[in-house]
Amino acid sequence: MFAYPTVRASFIFLAVALLGLLVADIAITTANPWQDLGRFFLGVATPNFFSTEGLLTALLRTVAFAFVGVTLGSICGFLLALVYRFLPVRIFCAFIRAIHELFWALIFLQFFGFHPLTGVLAIAIPYAGIFAKVYSEILEEADPEPGRLLPPGTSSIAAFLYARIPDCWVQMRTYTAYRLECGLRSSAILGFVGLPTLGFYLESSFSQGLYSDAGAMLILFYVLIATMPLWLRPKLLPVYVLAAPFFLGDGLPIVWGNVERFFTEDIIPSPIRDGEGLAAIWAWLSDVLITEALPGIWNTVVLTQIALVATGILSLLAFPLISNHFGGPVRRTSGHVFLVIARSTPEYILAYILLQLWGPSMLPAVVALALHNGGIIGHLIGRQTNTIHLRPDAPVGFSRYSWELVPRIYRSFLAFLFYRWEIIMRETAILGILGIYTLGFYVDSAIQNIQFDRAMVLILITALLNIGVDALGRFIRRKLALQTMPTC
């Protein structure tokens, strides 16, 4: 069995995660975790839709920010995709997508403040980096044949528009629509740092233990995402896109002097700002690295590895829920509902909920990351098993699962998992804002202390770590010859 590289890789990752478990801080620290969990589910079962007058407005803002952010991101991403073959562009894109939406929001909050631009750019910038990469991959794989048939002298722009784009159009449209769903999730969590989206009210209700109010908000959010195929019609899209900017709310006016100040003063390391010598700069930097960056990196990596393996295990357990090979339609429908809920809930919100219920340790984060990511991968490979036709006399039940299906989907399962590795790490870092000691914790602390120079160093380190894991993930996927479609 160990002769297979995929099996060897799996066991190496499993071993790393088990070692991680030995050093990780895994605990339930609340006295009555199950009682609180029960109250939470009771709240979801008895939702109160009339708690805040602002609830519908918040939902509208959530959609508006998602539309404007994703639209802007896709336009910029498309333009970047055209020049993606240049190394500096690729590095630039890798960098902007390595920084999480919430970090971008925290940065823009410092100089744009509570202006809609903060939320729009927080979504648009990282999304532009992702769109650039995916669009360029789609364009690259386009059939070159139509281009060759064009008469000589056709301008390259015309050739691109008439020979290349039509071939890629459907794929690009599908991916962009899929990204919009991700955009809704991103938009919702921006509320946690003060933008007027759903997260704003969700955080308030939750922290006050108003579970019925919070339950209503979660239900509205699920309905919004689950009904996307109904309201997101191609014909209506231009209407949405044109209308969205007018529903972002007014916020507060931008004071442009703040922008200049942020870039020329705030983020300059304090020893340089104060004109101290090289020694002081070194002392400052090593202080940031040793007391904040190193513990942050360690916790981020440990948590990521555990969450990655937990995600894998959960995906493998979850895919039969929606697979045609098991159970009847009733069971499959409830399986679908469970997986839709798991993958529609942003891991940040899941982690927030579980942290409130179980107290602070890495456990809520691991469970949240595994539920969300496992929901996504389980859904994808579950759907894939539905295209597999087995012999009529194939075994049933557990034998079918372990001897027929898992071996057949294992490679694409690993491909999805390694693809999501970097995404899991990006999320792990951001969960620090909730109080787990990953890099986000130290970024948040620096921002709370109004030390943006420190915050920027830590955000840069987080970005580099993500780029590193992304590269490693791609290397492993290439080594194992795994291919996948992007997910978010």
Binding site: T29, T30, A31, N32, D36, V68, T71, L72, S74, I75, F78, L109, Q110, F111, G113, F114, H115, P116, L117, V120, L161, I165, P166, W169, F192, V193, G194, F200, E203, S204, S207, Q208, G209, P238, V241, L242, A244, P245, F246, L248, D250, G251, L252, P253, I254, V255, N258, S270, G359, P360, G435, D444, S445, I447, Q448, N449, I450, Q451
Partner: protein, 292 residues
């Protein structure tokens, strides 16, 4: 099809920028640090906004924020002109905005206190001095309030370091930041953390309203007093809202005597304050490295 869509998208992008730069010029905006449950804050400060609007003849708007730093940043960025800050956030804000002034504080803020509270299951008994509690506290779990809080972070951390000569995360087995005082109270009451530190006014008010299960949580130590909350205003408000605006604002705050509004703070009234009153807070913050 591709081109027409692209054109639509571009037009939208420009529109969104245009829509986003709409400015409302003459609204006076204020905020407050989110130190308590949000519904309470909104109720409290909407009342204050109405009162100020009536007194000052300008449109006054309160905006809620999600963190202490967000309040400081909004003040610094001139998106808000007045803020109800804690001792530390006020010092941070006034350092960042030259010319800004502390104009009023609550009567109780001259001599504010932090209460250390413990879940009764720990068996920790109240003590007169913190060093008597060393054995009981060691290895327990502990929560501060917000990272930027004076009564929930700065002063308790200062006394922990001062008395035990070590950092909180070496004395306690687990150190957390609950986010606000009400939350600290709930977490220690529920046993999520064994010990916590919070604003004494929040404790007293919740106790008076019967919202504390005194069988589950009790006060174990009270810090010496220090100056805390205050209203801080930007130095450039006179230029923007007319001569004497700052003076009028100060008077309006000092004259606030609506018992329902005061009760929501909870303060018995507001008295004059000055930047110098907060010198001890600045020194303490520098001492433990929160301020450079």
């Amino acid at each position: 099809m591709a081109i027409s869509n692209l054109r639509k998208w571009l037009a939208t992008g420009l529109l969104s920028l245009a829509a986003a730069t709409t400015v409302q010029a003459d609204t006076f905006v204020f905020t407050a640090i989110p130190d308590e449950d949000e519904t309470k804050l909104v109720e409290r400060f909407r009342g204050v906004a109405d009162y100020l609007q009536e007194q000052l003849d300008v449109e006054v708007r309160y905006i809620p924020v999600k963190s202490y730093a967000a309040a400081v940043s909004a003040f610094r960025n001139n998106q808000v002109q007045l803020a109800w800050f804690g001792g530390l956030s006020g010092v941070q804000a006034r350092r960042l905005v030259p010319g800004s002034e502390a104009i009023a504080q609550g009567v109780e803020d001259e001599a504010f206190e932090t209460y250390f509270i413990a879940n009764t299951s720990t068996g920790i008994q109240p003590a007169d001095s913190l060093d008597e509690l060393e054995d009981e506290l060691r290895g327990k779990t502990f929560t501060f309030g917000s990272k930027g809080s004076t009564s929930g972070r700065l002063m308790p951390e200062f006394y922990i370091r001062d008395v035990f000569n070590e950092a909180p995360d070496s004395l306690f087995s687990r150190v957390g930041f609950s986010g606000n005082h009400t939350r600290t109270l709930r977490l220690v009451e529920a046993g999520t953390y064994e010990v916590g530190a919070l604003n004494f006014q929040v404790w007293e008010k919740e106790l008076e309203n019967g919202n504390i299960d005194t069988d589950a949580v009790q006060v174990i130590w009270r810090t010496p007093t220090y100056p805390d909350y205050q209203w801080t205003i930007r130095g450039d408000v006179d230029e923007r809202f007319g001569d004497g605006f700052k003076q009028k604002m100060t008077e309006a705050l000092l004259n606030l005597d609506d018992p329902a509004l005061l009760e929501s703070f909870p303060r018995s009234g507001f008295i004059p304050a000055s930047n110098d009153d907060y010198e001890p807070i600045r020194a303490t913050a520098e001492n433990i490295g929160i301020l450079d």
